[in-house]
Symmetry: C2
């Protein structure tokens, strides 16, 4: 199999990632609208939930592939909406630790249930193996770029 054939497929994947990203943002906004949540805010809730412990803004940014400035703005707005809690960081005067408030936890778990049903619908007709290959390939491409 010649490497020359991989270029065009790779280009198509890039275009499809852009397209699908747009669709997913729209879909996430739609699902979250019931709780006053946008896709971007959902990402923050998810990052905090996955981490399992309070995180700083740069930590969240790193795990999500965003800049710290982008995360900071979201986090500030979400604290005002009582979705997040800021705690003083004993080891660092400026870098506050951020965690989910009770409201944030409640909203996230309700979104998680809603998203599970949607995920099942979207992945109908796609095998587990295909999904795992896709995830692996996307991760390897991300890793190769590694900005």
């Amino acid at each position: 199999m010649s490497d020359a054939q991989k270029g065009p497929v790779f280009t198509e994947i890039v275009l499809e990632v852009f397209k699908l990203g747009g669709f997913l943002v729209s879909e996430g906004d739609r699902m979250g609208s019931e709780y006053g949540i946008t896709s971007a805010r959902w990402k923050i809730l998810g990052a905090l939930s996955l981490a399992g412990e309070p995180q700083t803004v740069p930590q969240i940014a790193g795990s999500m592939g965003l800049t710290r400035q982008a995360v900071q703005r979201l986090v500030d707005a979400m604290q005002k909406d009582n979705l997040l809690l800021f705690q003083d960081n004993p080891g660092h005067k400026r870098a506050k630790l951020i965690s989910l408030s009770d409201l944030g936890k409640t909203v996230y778990s309700k979104l998680y249930e809603k998203q599970s049903g949607w995920a099942k619908t979207c992945s109908a007709g796609i095998t587990q193996a295909e999904l795992e290959t896709t995830l692996s390939v996307l991760e390897r491409i991300s890793g190769a770029i590694e900005r």
Copy 2:
């Protein structure tokens, strides 16, 4: 294989698509900066090149998964920068036909060469079959959302 296991993998794919999308935009901006081109403008050049014939704004938007308003803004700016040509549409007084100018064609072909080498590096260690599976899965997910 239970469907219940597909949900978590699907969620990870969604997060990875967001992350990779951000990386690809950055990388595209970086590669295009030499020619004064951003990722968004590259997408427009690519859509016109792939179509092979002049397109209207809504046609470009449909093929790229963007809204016509987003495409309109880019196209207007790119015409001012002499990357695109507007032609009167014989069949429609308002919807002008848009095509690549000579400058647009030159820039796109240079970007294509640059991107080819980059694609080869990024896809090192990934088989053709894996890439094709990934593209197929992403397309099926896009199709399932089909906003």
